[in-house]
């Protein structure tokens, strides 16, 4: 699996390179600024891009802009955006094209190498990896209103994990319940939110995110 990496701090960049290589991924290019990132993405067409939001030369949201620009050229190009902060505004922009293959995580999530690499692989496979902080804020905001307020606490927990992009198996493992129990919860959630039930995991995540982002 080929990765293009963009991170301006050399220490962190090297750390990420060795982390990803240790887990069997190939680094196609590791760059440290926005224009170079856009070029690398268009030249290498990687399986996934791991991108820091803030990059030189402007030190604003250059990484995000380059990733969005590349996705306009190459629809569905999987991008995992890392940031010191998560902003719902940016999450919305990343999800706006509805194409999937999007990740948006706090940089701290790198601390848990196994989970992080899992998120990279998930995004590369067209899946979604949203930071728990984005999702919990989204859900907290929506929870004041019907019908989100009708969910049981457990269902809300499942909804949050689902919105982060996790599979049923992963949710079950996290909550220490059987997969069947999770399936039951998700069925209830989709019924209460009046969303069409779909077997496809990724479409399910996008539907939930679109619902929360209304």
């Amino acid at each position: 699996m080929r990765v293009v990496l963009a991170e301006d701090l050399a220490l962190l960049r090297e750390g990420l390179v060795s982390l990803l290589e240790a887990h069997g991924l190939t680094i196609a290019a590791a760059v440290d600024n926005g224009p170079a990132l856009l070029k690398a993405l268009l030249d290498h067409r990687p399986d996934v891009a791991v991108v820091d939001v803030r990059l030189p030369p402007s030190f604003t949201d250059e990484g995000l802009q380059a990733a969005l620009a590349a996705r306009r050229e190459v629809p569905g190009l999987p991008v995992l955006v890392l940031s010191q902060y998560v902003e719902q505004l940016y999450a919305r922009e990343l999800l706006a094209d509805g194409g999937g293959g999007i990740g948006y995580l706090l940089k701290d999530r790198v601390f848990d190498a196994a989970q992080f690499v899992d998120a990279v692989r998930r995004v590369a496979g067209g899946g979604t990896a949203m930071d728990p902080e984005v999702i919990s804020r989204l859900v907290a905001r929506g929870a004041r209103d019907e019908p989100l307020g009708r969910l049981t606490p457990r269902e809300r927990e499942v909804l949050e994990l689902m919105a982060q992009g996790r599979s049923n198996a992963s949710i079950a493992q996290r909550l220490v319940v059987t997969e069947r129990a999770v399936t039951k919860h998700t069925a209830n959630i989709f019924m209460k939110l009046d969303l069409p039930v779909t077997a496809d995991g990724n479409r399910r995540v996008l539907a939930v995110l679109a619902y929360l982002n209304r």
């Binding site: 926005g34 856009l38 949201d61 010191q84 940089k107 804020r137 905001r141």
Partner: protein, 438 residues
């Protein structure tokens, strides 16, 4: 302010009300005139002890009357007049302090202009502000003459003139004198209502010429405003730095120290008790995440990342997305203001949003940002219960002071029962938008 109220009147209302307003300005200006004459009398005695003793109170009286008159002129003519007085020097104790204060008042040109105005105004007001009133009065008098007063005068053997019409023994005979009176009276009445607003405006401008600030006093007032807002800005930023220092010291810094110590302990335990070491490592990782979290919150409070990345419009949008209330943002900003203005505007909106949910118990908030006439204009409207005031403990006064550093102004409209509308205006230029990467 009151100028707005005048603008909301229809044209007809303005014309109809002008005569009584002119009359009001004339009559209510009388105390100012008396104060002015008193002031001049005191001045004529200034070489003697009595003049010196009476001078301060005479100045104060005149200024108080004229402050009232400025407000009246603004209300009725729509001409806003700023106070022109130079700031008083710091009141020093003792004789020399008194002399300094005395000298400052005496040498303030506004003091002399006040006196000049008070002496001339009784004449000027007759031909400007009160003109409409006289014309209307003249018209009414004409009607009275035609109806009954003319006959009364004629019967009593008196003579008088109504414009060019003689009112004497022959007044009652024939239709001519009476109809001429009616025509002239009607014309006079109509002219009174016609010229009313113009006459008031002329009066307002005359008053502003003498009672408004000169270029010199305007500059002096500006210097005072700048001095005040500068010292407030310096205080505020010092307090902010102290808060950041404390947060760092108690938060991230303390956690890093603890992490260092735990790492030291882990080093020792690695060989002896690997299980315990692993436990401690997990704890350390937890602590580092917490430290990061705290730093993140701190930075967000200093300068939110979206504000740095995208500017105030998107930063306010991000704020709205995170806010528990239903917040709608509309923005029309073709570029970005300077960073300090942007930051002040952002934090002002953030505070107003907090007010809306905390004090006004609103459900919905509308925020509008636009750039017009060299001003960044931000309107925050909520559907809460209203009744907010600048001094109501909602921090609006502090907010007003903070944006005053940028010559910004805050207008509050919050009737009991709501809605609350707060408008901020910050003068600023916009830079052209950053050229996008794509």
């Amino acid at each position: 302010m009151n100028g707005v109220a005048t603008m909301e009147e229809t044209r007809i209302q303005r014309h109809l009300r002008a005569p009584q307003r002119g009359f009001g300005l004339m009559v209510l200006g009388i105390p100012a005139m008396i104060a002015g004459f008193w002031f001049v009398s005191v001045l004529s005695m200034i070489t003697g002890l009595l003049g010196i003793v009476l001078f301060p109170s005479a100045v104060k009286w005149l200024r108080r009357e004229l402050d009232g008159h400025r407000a009246r002129v603004a209300r009725w003519t729509g001409v806003e007049i700023e106070r022109p007085y130079l700031p008083d020097p710091e009141r020093e104790p003792g004789f020399s302090g008194e002399v300094k204060w005395f000298g400052a008042r005496l040498s303030d040109p506004a003091t002399w202009r006040d006196a000049l105005w008070a002496i001339l105004d009784p004449i000027v007001v007759m031909f400007t502000g009160a003109l409409a009133f006289w014309l209307v009065l003249n018209g009414l008098w004409g009607y009275c003459l035609a109806a009954f007063a003319g006959d009364l005068i004629a019967d009593a053997g008196g003579t008088t003139w109504y414009a060019a019409v003689p009112v004497d023994a022959g007044y009652g005979e024939g239709i001519m004198p009476r109809s001429a009176t009616l025509v002239i009276a009607t014309l006079s009445l109509a002219a009174g209502f016609m010229v009313g607003p113009k006459a008031l405006d002329a009066y307002g401008r005359w008053t502003r010429t003498l009672l408004g600030p000169t270029e010199k006093s305007r500059l002096a007032l500006r210097v005072r405003h700048l001095t005040e807002t500068r010292s407030e800005a310096v205080d505020a930023s010092a307090a902010e730095l102290r808060r950041i220092e404390r947060d760092l010291h108690d938060g991230a810094q303390a956690r890093l120290v603890a992490m260092g110590m735990t790492l030291g302990a882990i080093e020792h335990l690695l060989e002896k008790d690997p299980a315990k070491a692993r436990l401690l490592l997990a704890e350390t990782r937890e602590a580092s995440a917490k430290a990061l979290h705290e730093l993140r919150d701190l930075v967000r409070g200093i300068h939110p990342p979206v504000l740095a990345d995208r500017g105030v419009a998107d930063a306010v949008r991000a704020l709205a997305l995170d806010h528990p209330l239903d917040v709608e943002v509309t923005a029309d900003l073709p570029g970005r203001p300077d960073a300090p203005v942007e930051s002040a505007a952002y934090f002002a909106v953030s505070e107003l949003l907090a007010n809306a949910s905390k004090h006004a118990e609103a459900d919905r908030v509308w925020i509008d940002l636009r750039h017009e006439h060299g001003m960044l204009r931000i309107t925050v409207t909520d559907d809460g219960h209203g009744g907010a005031s600048l001094d109501g403990g909602t921090g609006l006064r502090g907010l007003e002071r903070r944006i005053a550093t940028f010559d910004g102004v805050l207008a509050l409209n919050s009737p009991a029962g709501g809605p609350t509308i707060v408008t901020l205006e910050l003068p600023c230029a916009l830079s052209s938008p950053k050229t996008s990467l794509s």
